[in-house]
């Protein structure tokens, strides 16, 4: 009986993150209540250390744990995106936790555990690892969504997310079972090789499995028709958690979609393309059209996140490595600009449990020019107007799609982007152009939130102006080495 070789250096980031979560958990239990704020500082510090560990492993191309865990450029880039997103969320949360008197220790521990799950998903070269990673991520998020226990809306959000999420998980398990039945392995790398298939002529069987997997992942991605939970869950969850939910799980789902549908089922991509095509189109239209009629900013951002899931699916309708690379870049831009928008929302929301109506932004631009300008930047970036990150993300994605001849899809996506300009700019109009009798109330300036906000603003501009100098656009999708 031989044991698998474990490359401890390569998995150092994961070890750090897992240890960090355990440490914070212990602090949550053993520190006196009035000193638990320190866990937030441990969290961001640990995330930065883990980011360095990822950086240290840059260029490592290996599979460890008996080929189940793939450390390669693709997973490293995604891990950095997750780490960046979590770092910004930790910065955002510091003030929020204090204002709403949430339990800091458990909050950060769950955020870090969720991050750990995402990192597992990004590196998973086996469906079983992917599944357990997904569950770690999701269970932590279910709890985080209901973290404001005294708020009925938060409870509703948690319950809805949990019930529907658990249901989606069922589809994923069944899908894995079908895929295993068809190809006789759960390893993504071996699945790629049709020689390994155990059942002759099992294409239909495999596709049922793939379809079930897709249902589960589409749920996590918030894609049509599995998007129904998004507005309610986003609205009810604590705002900082909503920000985390809208960026991290999406990126993790995209990572797995890429590994499963572009790598493992790579030879079937032409048959799969129409399915992704229609999913993408329907998701874009659903998100953008319903977003127009929203008056609550959190719900609007929820529908906007559905719309962005639609844009991301373009990459899978295209199915080339280039498209997947550009969707990873898109994820990076989306993380920065979307978290940025939520940061401004957090500042505006302040202490009171605001109803988060768009009208609550009235006059923000005049009274607080920096906040107004930042929000405008994030919103035009979300709409995809140059020279922002959102434009660059869409540009590379559409370019990859056009290169594969997906011109109608790109045209539809551009039309959708134009629709989205309407509802994003409506907020800008409210912020700057509507005269109000009353002055916008003063807002507090929590230091960490502002650091995060500045990072997000710089990120949105820099990624928009110099996209190619910060992002490697030639990422192989799975570690080639053993």
């Amino acid at each position: 009986m031989e044991f698998p070789q474990i490359d401890y250096v390569a998995i150092l980031p994961e070890i750090i993150i897992c240890g960090l979560a355990l440490l914070i958990m212990l602090f949550a239990a053993f520190l006196p209540r009035d000193r638990r704020w320190i866990t937030g500082h441990i969290a961001w510090f640990g995330i930065i250390v883990a980011s360095f560990a990822v950086w240290m492993n840059w260029g490592t191309d290996t599979r460890t744990f008996a080929g189940m865990y793939s450390i390669d450029l693709f997973s490293s880039v995604l891990k950095l995106i997750f780490l960046l997103g979590s770092l910004l969320v930790v910065f955002m949360s510091e003030n929020y936790i204090r204002l709403h008197k949430l339990e800091a220790g458990e909050y950060y521990a769950l955020i870090i555990f969720s991050l750990f799950g995402m990192m597992m998903m990004a590196s998973a070269a086996d469906l079983v690892v992917f599944f357990v990673g997904l569950e770690i991520m999701s269970v932590a998020l279910y709890v985080l969504a209901g973290f404001r226990r005294s708020d009925p809306k938060s409870n509703e959000s948690s319950l809805k997310y949990f019930l529907l999420g658990a249901f989606a998980t069922g589809f994923i398990v069944l899908g894995i079972a079908f895929v295993f039945g068809a190809v006789g392995t759960t390893s993504i790398a071996q699945m790629f090789d049709p020689q390994q298939y155990t059942l002759a002529n099992s294409f239909f069987y495999l596709m049922v499995g793939g379809g079930l997997l897709l249902i589960g992942l589409a749920f996590k991605l918030a894609s049509f028709p599995f998007h129904m939970w998004v507005p309610d869950v986003y609205e009810g969850a604590p705002t900082a958690v909503t920000a985390f939910m809208s960026s991290g799980p999406k990126a993790a789902a995209i990572a797995v979609l890429a590994r499963v549908f572009v790598v493992a089922f790579g030879q079937h991509i032409t048959q799969l393309s129409p399915m992704f095509w229609s999913l993408s189109v329907l998701t874009m239209f659903t998100g953008n059209l319903i977003a127009i009629s929203q008056t609550n900013i959190k719900r609007m951002l929820a529908y906007s996140s559905i719309a962005h899931a639609g844009y991301m699916l373009i990459a899978f309708a295209t199915g080339t490595a280039e498209a997947v690379n550009s969707v990873v870049f898109y994820l990076l831009t989306y993380t920065v600009m979307n978290l940025g928008a939520f940061m401004v929302l957090l500042v505006v929301e302040g202490k009171e449990d605001g109803d988060n109506e768009i009208t609550s932004f009235t006059g923000l631009g005049r009274r607080h020019p920096f906040l107004g300008a930042a929000m405008t930047l994030f919103l035009i970036s979300l709409a995809g107007i140059p020279p922002t990150a959102g434009f660059a993300g869409k540009f590379f994605l559409f370019k990859a799609a056009v290169a594969k001849g997906q011109i109608p899809l790109v045209v539809i996506a551009v039309i959708n982007s134009l629709i989205s300009v309407y509802y994003y700019l409506r907020v800008v109009v409210v912020m700057f152009m509507i005269d109000t009798q009353t002055e916008f109330r003063p807002v507090s300036y929590p230091a960490f939130l502002y650091v995060a906000l500045v990072v997000a603003v710089l990120g949105t501009i820099v990624l928009g102006v110099f996209p190619t100098s910060f992002f490697p656009f030639d990422i192989p999708l799975l570690a080639s080495g053993r």
């Binding site: 009986m1 044991f3 355990l22 958990m25 212990l26 949550a28 239990a29 053993f30």
Partner: protein
């Protein structure tokens, strides 16, 4: 392999059958003359107070939750215990990590006071 479960099957059938048969026979032969007194719940001869569906303390639920979590842990311990002798030290270390991580959880729950009974 399957045959050894025949015993389990027979046992199941007998245990279910026993209840059905004895209660069924009793139902057939007993006289049935119910009165309100006879139908009331017996509580040591006293009149009953309130519904018997009392609301349980929420603490039971946390205990039950913790029980399920450690139940799952035990389910993973079984295959380890079966092959432990063949796999030796490495397997022991793996299991120590597995149990160790959950030990953090137990420590957490204990410190949070959920294991205390009021």
């Amino acid at each position: 392999m399957l045959d050894s479960y025949g015993t389990v099957g027979i046992f199941l059938v007998v245990s279910v059958g026993f209840v059905v048969v004895t209660l069924g026979i009793a139902r057939l032969f007993r006289p049935q003359r119910p009165t309100p007194q006879k139908l009331s719940t017996y509580e040591c001869g006293e009149p009953t107070v309130g519904s018997s569906w009392v609301q349980f303390n929420v603490r039971y639920y946390i205990f039950a939750l913790l029980f399920v979590i450690f139940d799952v842990e035990v389910a993973f311990l079984i295959p380890w215990a079966v092959v432990f002798k063949q796999l030796g030290l490495f397997a022991l270390v793996e299991m120590l990590i597995f149990v160790g991580i959950l030990l953090f959880g137990l420590l957490y729950a204990w410190k949070k006071g959920v294991l205390k009974w009021v």
